[in-house]
């Protein structure tokens, strides 16, 4: 990747306009690049920051604009399953109702994101560059989910160190020769792996269900049912979600498949929901 600055500091977007385009780059650098915030030694472009923005507090990512909500993922017998809704909200407005918050990295790995959607699109571009590189090298080696996970940890942590984070909570899921893999990376670089991972509200809502019912050897039907229940409870209790979901499966046998959008049966006419206080003690 050619070294180039990437931030969200310009209104039009990164690298679209400004003096940084005048930097001459050579296809063969005789002098190794000297490390700096705008051109770090390792992982150059993804972790680079516009030098002007380092001193200008107004230009750093302060808050996200268009956001996705929770993502939930479980391991099951054949591989891993990820689920999330298709909403990109603009504050409280349910603005974009068909955003695919999942990205197929390669035949063995999927990344799903909550948080700022434009940052997620940038992450997809970075992953696409890596995958294209693998394709171009043409030696049969693909990135494993563990490698994608480690790479994303490094990128997010590096950006956090520059006070210009990619405002995302990412779930990396996939299959590798030594088993299935599920990991979560937060916007400040916090990361962990587990048999079930969640981001956002699903941490509070779906996690208890997973703890109770998820087993590594559960069948696909059981896993789907568990996922539906988790998605449903997140839809009921999270105001920034819609009844339109996608589920991605990554299996050893069949690779990656991201489902068509679907809706779940939900009811809003529960008496206790419609009139919560009617049967409460002391109510009239």
């Amino acid at each position: 990747m050619l070294p180039r600055p990437t931030t969200h500091s310009k209104a039009l977007g990164p690298g679209v306009a400004g003096p940084e385009l005048a930097v001459a780059t050579s296809a063969v650098l005789d002098r190794p690049p000297q490390p700096g915030a705008h051109l770090p030694l390792s992982g150059a472009a993804p972790c680079a920051v516009d030098p002007a923005s380092l001193h200008d507090p107004r230009q750093h990512t302060k808050y996200p604009m268009v956001t996705g909500t929770s993502v939930m993922a479980i391991k099951y017998k054949d591989g891993v399953m990820l689920g999330c809704d298709m909403l990109a909200a603009y504050g409280s407005t349910k603005r974009y109702k068909t955003t695919q918050r999942m990205y197929r990295v390669n035949s063995k790995c999927v990344v799903a994101a909550g948080g700022e959607i434009s940052d997620f699109q940038h992450i997809c571009t970075l992953l696409d560059e890596l995958t294209t590189d693998d394709f171009r090298t043409d030696d049969g080696i693909e990135l494993t989910p563990q490698e994608v996970y480690a790479y994303l940890c490094r990128v997010l942590y590096n950006r956090r160190n520059k006070f210009d984070p990619l405002w995302n909570s990412l779930v990396v899921g996939g299959v590798a020769p030594d088993g299935s893999f599920l990991g979560m990376v937060g916007m400040i670089g916090t990361h962990y792996t587990d048999n079930h991972v969640t981001t956002g509200f699903a941490n509070q809502l779906a996690r208890p269900l997973f703890r109770e019912r998820q087993k590594d050897d559960m069948s696909e039907e059981e896993a789907l049912q568990l996922m539906y229940d988790a998605l449903k409870v997140c839809y009921y209790r999270d105001k920034q979600s819609i009844n339109k979901f996608q589920i991605a499966k990554v299996t050893h046998a069949a690779g990656v498949s991201i489902s068509e959008p679907f809706a779940l049966d939900v009811r809003w006419d529960y008496k206790k929901f419609a009139e919560p206080t009617k049967w409460a003690v002391g109510a009239w």
Binding site: V28, S42, G43, I141, Q146, A150, Y151, P177
Partner: protein
């Protein structure tokens, strides 16, 4: 090779389409001490002959660990070898930092080859004067690569580079079909025998050779001095057997030599008087 008018700098072609400076760099590799590499289905072994400047100095290092799953043996300019070694170690450790996994061997070798090629196409650079035998294990199995100052790289089942490597290659060509199934000790023994073939004088001792092994689940390990002594001793045990075989081979020949005069008369009578056939072939 003789000097000619197209060999002054690396950016001049000869009319036959040769870059002489690059070929001279490959000559530098042939001046280095012999290095042998061979692989089985699970392990890769490097065996090298170390030279010393004088009796007072230590032996030159030829084998370098790049990472737990990879190492190199160099032949040629030691300084260039160390520089490439540092580059490879850097790349491996950066790869581990970003991806938390071992760098695929073929990709690093290709990077070395690309780096070497750059030096063959700039008028202000000179080609690297070192050839590497890269031994490594990755997800796709064990690998042995050879890189060249020209920027070429090849994958091998077994290979020898450096001074008098042809003799070692001959040994390897004779025995390479038994390598895939060989276990680690057999592989080391083959490597040392191949190395022995390239010795001009003297014999292999623990002081002048070093062995390195890397395999699936076996981190790159360098054996020198005391560690390689048992293998050198094992070689010596094989030698008496080889000497006996050689003696047994010569005895029939000696036994038939006295027959020659008799056979020769008969042969002359049969009009076969041209220099005399070999004793065994006299009929």
């Amino acid at each position: 090779m003789f000097r000619n008018q197209y060999d002054t700098d690396v950016t001049t072609w000869s009319p036959q389409g040769r870059l002489f400076q690059v070929e001279y760099a490959m000559e530098a590799v042939k001046q280095g001490g012999c290095a042998v590499g061979l692989k089985s289905e699970t392990h890769v072994v490097l065996a090298t002959l170390k030279r010393s400047q004088s009796e007072l100095s230590s032996f030159q290092r030829k084998v370098f660990k790049i990472d737990d799953h990879m190492g190199i043996a160099i032949a040629g300019l030691n300084g260039d070898g160390r520089s490439l070694c540092k580059y490879m170690r850097n790349e491996c450790i950066n790869h581990r930092y970003v991806y938390e996994s071992a760098m695929p061997v073929g990709r690093l070798v290709r990077q070395i080859a690309d780096k070497s090629q750059v030096c063959t196409q700039r008028s202000w650079k000179r080609p690297y004067g070192v050839g590497l035998l890269v031994a490594g294990v990755d997800r796709q199995g064990p690998h042995l690569f050879n890189t060249c100052p020209s920027g070429n790289y090849y994958e091998y089942k077994a290979m020898a580079i450096g001074a008098r490597s042809q003799a070692a290659k001959t040994y390897l060509e004779k025995h390479f079909e038994s390598f895939p199934a060989a276990d680690m000790d057999e592989l080391i023994r083959h490597g040392l025998k191949a190395l022995q073939a390239s010795l001009a004088e003297g014999e292999l001792t623990a002081a002048n050779c070093s062995v390195a092994i890397v395999g699936k689940g076996f981190a790159f390990t360098l054996l020198e001095d005391a560690a390689v002594q048992p293998y050198v001793d094992a070689l010596k045990e094989d030698e008496p057997m080889q000497a006996e075989e050689a003696a047994a081979g010569e005895a029939p020949a000696a036994a038939e030599a006295p027959d020659e005069p008799a056979g020769g008369e008969a042969a002359a009578a049969a009009a076969e008087a041209d220099g005399g056939p070999a004793p065994m072939e006299a009929d």
